[in-house]
Symmetry: C2
Subunit: 370 residues, 2 copies
């Protein structure tokens, strides 16, 4: 994580004045507070109170069974025993990258992708594959890519499957495709080399830290040992709450409602951008929490973030999502997920003002007047 970006985002989060379009957080409106409260009370008064005790590194059997059943329904030949419950999707990605990335080994990535995956790959000395060499492995987000909200084309999917190399398939946002057409999991077609990653952080709550990893069968024992070495187990309390919650919840109805909710916010942001910033280009998202924008603002994206924050709006600088860093024009992730229509309108108005007043690399306010 770039220290300057971290500092700016923390300042924005602390300020009441800033409309936050960065961060990729789910909408608090969708948290099922009372249902989670009931689940908590239920598990706390179970006789053995397993929720507060140590568990096993692979996780709660019922939660694992639920994860496996949902994947089976999508065509993947998996069982509860194939699932490791992880402390969020990040831990799952981290365990998989640890195994796949190494100095000199090249990884196939989307043009823009999840920043923390890039950090993990860099930390292991891995490098992004160029057009010239076939990748040694892939990290992709089928269904919905963060930050673009794009799905994966059939051609790319076929090419990745044909490559025969390992794939981390990070489905963090896959179930939040607005059309509900969650694609067939890579697991279903490449079981022996897919590291499947999922999470409840986007669909239920990130505060629970419940994600999952299904490694290739030959890697399961080592992955479980890695999980144990890192933090023994995912939180038993969270897992128990999730277990109790899922037993009573209509999760598909929840997903359908979330899709409708986020789709409306996405449409609002897309309309606002087209209307107020017609020189900015983006691809309409197919799902997820964000739009990735190529602006006509020339200069450093972090300098522009600093400037925009002073105008009362933030975003995630494009360089975070790109293996190669920042190009000549500013790009950015704009998250519509937790901003109301009013906030989105005000945020875009401020972005427009920021773009108008920004001078390459030098915030307008600090330039000496001649």
């Amino acid at each position: 994580m770039d220290a300057r970006i971290d500092r700016l985002q923390r300042a924005a989060a602390e300020s009441e004045r800033v409309v936050e379009l960065g961060g990729g957080l789910p909408a608090a409106d969708l948290f099922p507070r009372s249902e989670l409260a009931s689940s908590f009370l239920a598990v706390l008064y179970e006789p053995a109170c397993a929720a507060l005790q140590y568990g096993w590194p692979e996780g709660d059997p019922d939660v694992r069974a639920w994860i496996a059943a949902r994947l089976r329904a999508r065509g993947a030949p998996v069982a509860a025993g194939d699932v490791i419950v992880t402390s969020g999707a990040q831990q799952a990605v981290s365990i998989a990258v640890d195994r796949l990335a190494a100095p000199g080994r090249s990884v196939g990535l989307d043009r823009e992708t999840y920043p923390a995956a890039l950090d993990l790959i860099r930390a292991k000395g891995g490098r992004a594959a160029t057009g010239k060499d076939p990748p040694d492995w892939f990290y992709v987000m089928p269904g919905v890519t963060n930050p673009t909200g794009a799905g994966m084309t059939a051609e790319r999917r076929a090419a990745i499957l044909a490559s025969g190399v390992p794939v981390i398939a990070d489905e963090a946002y896959a179930e939040l495709r607005f059309d509900g057409a969650v694609p067939r999991p890579f697991l279903a077609d490449a079981r022996d080399r897919t590291w499947h990653v999922g999470t409840l952080s986007k669909t239920l709550s990130p505060g629970l830290r419940v994600g999952w990893l299904l490694p290739p069968p030959g890697e399961l024992a080592a992955a479980l040992e890695a999980k144990r070495a890192r933090d023994l187990e995912a939180g038993n309390l969270s897992q128990a709450v999730v277990r109790s919650f899922l037993a009573r919840d209509d999760f598909d109805a929840r997903l359908a409602a979330a899709r409708t909710f986020y789709r409306a916010r996405a449409e609002t942001l897309v309309d606002l951008l087209r209307r107020h910033l017609p020189g900015w280009h983006f691809r309409e998202p197919e799902g997820g929490f964000s739009v990735f924008v190529e602006t006509d603002v020339r200069g450093d994206d972090v300098a522009f973030l600093e400037h925009a924050t002073r105008q009362g709006v933030n975003f995630d600088p494009g360089r975070m999502f790109r293996p190669g860093g920042a190009p000549a024009f500013v790009s950015m992730r704009l998250c519509f997920s937790r901003a109301s229509s009013t906030e989105l309108a005000e945020g875009v108005r401020r972005l427009e003002r920021a773009a108008r007043t920004f001078r390459t690399g030098v915030p307008a306010e600090t330039r000496a007047t001649p």
Copy 2:
């Protein structure tokens, strides 16, 4: 983790018939269920519902402040900003070992110590220091060592401080000294090279996964980056529950009650062992959850575990706690923490029977009769 031991312990956990003296789990009797329930409800209905949202990698500010204040009260010059809330003590140890262990680097250890720390050190190619070479760093559990329940002598403490090398001071059990004389933290005397580790897993609940790490100041930024890379952050829900709980709890009174509770169980086990297994030797624990026993049973400790499990009792084989592996006589960790007096009595009775019927390396039941 040895696969045979893992298999045996899982079978024991699943059997109603086995008195479990392995595992190192806290007593469910001490979980403050209704207070945690109130805390959960309180944080769930806070307006922004931060408990269910993403947080920062360093953790909840109030939880960090509480941790720092308790360490300051013990003489350590630390502030909330020095604390990283981790996903249990295991993650804290793992981050610290990652930084300190390396092929060829020797670590000073207690004769018996925390098995998962040994696993982490081995995985990084580290090695235990012998009497001949001064260690490159230390991993110790001041106050209460797991599995022996022993405190640290003043001489050893002075020698470690005089060595000038980095120290992981794992205080997982330190506050559970039966005499309440929690020693001055290493942080107070070697701030610049102490990796301080603590947790609520033994004193409140392991299901919360709330531990902490205070790295040396020069290592804080890198450790925080490591924390973020591993799982973004400790569970916000757990941290919010803890924050709300601690604001209302008399934690010192809770510790005092826990010490009385565990001391009584320790005394029961010690008495039973002296009475029924006078040939077994151990040091009376000063705190914690367990006794470490050197038996007069000759043979393989895992074979003896298998035999004992058939007799309806389990334990943790001594080899788990020793860098050098298993010696000629069986040793074991016996946990009194979650067994009632009746269970302890029955467990010791079965251990005695197991010892009587065990033949070196070959469980009695399976020997061919001549």
